[in-house]
Symmetry: C2
Subunit: 183 residues, 2 copies
């Protein structure tokens, strides 16, 4: 399948993507030290993305931002239960309860070459299914102690190939890895 | 107190320092791709260390290596219960059930300026006690899914200052942080 699924996410040094209640206050606070014209490669990454896949919790968090950050890219929200999509997003956001493999296959047939996988549980499901090709993780210099972890259990070790690391003046460290087992 | 406590440790990308049973096979395997003359700064770091502090599990792991890796640096092993120290190490290894603060104070009076804190639980105890000054973490490009985590819960966020990151050709990424709250 000529399709790439990518992770692009920020974590605390101890590997959390949000507090237990989903709060991103620590990330918002850290972002205050980031120059306005610096997006840590997000725009360049997004240009390569054909569709986004995220879980319900992440979707609801993104909605709470007020401003929709993904332009008119198709977004598929994974949820067991049917989801209400706000009217103004109904053209670009859709709900699915497909498995990662089913969804990837369907999107591949529609020509989606690069998928952006977002949200802890969704990332873990795609990783476990062997569908993630690369991960770009931006480590924020803070230890939270508890929260929602980026990674969960996996059936066997996942070997990675380190591609590049960039340390920013404001203390963020961004590393990109490719999954080795998973050509 | 004119004393620095430092962490210098390797973790998987998902933040584990050992498998659940303490096994370091993944680290041993990764080290096979490291050139023989490359120690990722360990020797230079060790030259600045006056004493090592570790927990019982880490001590027993180190004993299992066969070769004692710390020369004649004083090593204090923290354990609630009294520990048998092998005869050949009795001059340099001692057992203590002191709290991190008590031990730090005692060693400071003896002139120990830099302490090397090792092992997950011991690191977590020193972090929680606000005694860790800097952390050097070498991220190995593998996801384990489960194991003994480097970090545990903390009472409040610990803000860090990123000092330096080095990405090695063989895929290890080593970052040094200083704890901000903790001058």
């Amino acid at each position: 399948m000529n399709q790439i699924a990518s992770v692009y996410i920020a974590t605390s040094l101890d590997g959390f993507i949000a507090r237990e209640d989903g709060d991103l206050d620590w990330l918002t606070a850290a972002n205050k030290s980031v120059p306005e014209d610096e997006d840590c490669g997000f725009y360049a990454f997004m240009k390569t993305v054909d569709a986004l896949i995220m879980g319900r919790k992440t979707f609801e968090k993104v909605l709470s931002f007020g401003k929709w950050p993904y332009g008119d890219k198709p977004v598929i929200v994974l949820s067991r239960n049917k989801l209400e999509i706000p009217e103004n997003l109904s053209r670009i956001v859709s709900w699915s309860s497909e498995s990662p493999q089913e969804l990837s296959n369907r999107l591949a047939k529609k020509g989606a070459k690069r998928l952006y996988i977002d949200g802890g549980i969704t990332i873990q499901r795609f990783l476990s299914a062997g569908l993630v090709k690369d991960l770009t993780i931006t480590v924020i210099p803070v230890i939270l102690g508890r929260g929602r972890p980026l990674f969960g259990d996996v059936k066997h070790d996942i070997s990675l190939r380190h591609i590049v690391t960039k340390a920013y003046d404001f203390g963020f460290v961004q590393s990109t890895y490719e999954v080795e087992d998973n050509a």
